[in-house]
């Protein structure tokens, strides 16, 4: 069996890469994908601790996280379509209506 630490460290690395993609990427769709990457990293930690503790609560929480991610993807992509229709761009630097 693989030690739980390895899974947790991998989860932290993936979460960090997701955060970096979130602040570095400029395309709004890619930013949205990096949010999904962070959710996946958290799911990995959930399952790792569920296996380490011998309880299944963590896996049930992962299912709920996946449901929320699906709902979030549907609404978020609707918003992205709306932004692209109104501003004719997918670059977040061009979406600056609230900027001074």
């Amino acid at each position: 069996m693989v030690p739980t630490n390895y899974y947790v460290i991998l989860s932290a690395i993936l979460f960090g890469l997701g955060v970096f993609a979130f602040i570095f990427k400029r395309n709004i769709i890619t930013i949205f994908m990096s949010i999904e990457l962070m959710l996946n990293a958290v799911n990995l930690a959930f399952v790792a601790f569920s296996q380490a503790l011998g309880k299944l609560d963590g896996q049930v929480f992962v299912l709920f996280v996946i449901v929320v991610a699906a709902a979030e993807a549907a609404v978020g992509l609707g918003i992205i379509i709306l932004i692209a229709r109104n501003r004719q761009t997918l670059n977040v630097e061009r979406v600056d209506l609230l900027k001074l």
Binding site: M1, I13, L14, F24, M33, L44, V47, V68, A70
Partner: protein, 171 residues
């Protein structure tokens, strides 16, 4: 015991390397469709890791919902909007350097904090050969039945919201 341990360690490191390479590729690729394909690699690798941990139901849901439904939605929107190569200004390129340092610090901090608590958890661990699908279904429909019903409401609201947001305005 020893042979089994090394075999699962090898599988773990192969899948972990695949996931990290996919995540790096998501950042490096310029075109959003390439980033989406990289994200699918990450999700399939994570599904393999779930199988390695004996969570076969979560692995199946990961492939079907994440690798299937959500990523198809992403690819569909990318094609619908005809998204091109992303453009960086000089300021946003400069922001990458301190951002990278901060992210390394964040990942190290999180890993150190959680790995320390995981070390105390480890003594409880046993072999992951429980029939988890049956027990998960029991938990969802007994212990977590109200949250489960609420998720169906959430999905309904999300469908309505997406439909209202994406419809063309009547002029």
């Amino acid at each position: 015991m020893g042979w089994e341990m090394t075999a699962s360690l090898v599988v773990f490191f192969v899948l972990a390397a695949l996931a990290v390479i996919g995540a790096l590729s998501l950042i490096i690729q310029k075109h959003p469709i390439h980033s989406a394909l990289s994200l699918i690699v990450v999700m399939v690798a994570l599904a393999g890791l779930y199988l390695l941990m004996g969570a076969e139901f979560v692995a199946a849901v990961q492939i079907i919902v994440y690798g299937g439904a959500i990523m198809v939605l992403f690819v569909f929107v990318i094609m619908l909007l005809n998204a091109g190569v992303e453009e960086h200004t000089s300021i946003s390129k400069m922001a990458g350097v301190p951002g990278l340092l901060l992210v390394v610090a964040l990942a190290g901090f999180v890993a150190a904090a959680i790995a320390r608590s995981a070390a105390s958890v480890q003594s409880v661990s046993q072999s992951g050969t429980m029939s988890s699908t049956k027990e998960i279904s029991g938990m969802i429909f007994k212990d977590f039945v109200y949250p489960f019903e609420l998720t169906s409401f959430l999905i309904l609201v999300a469908i309505l919201g997406a439909t209202v947001l994406a419809q063309r305005e009547k002029s």
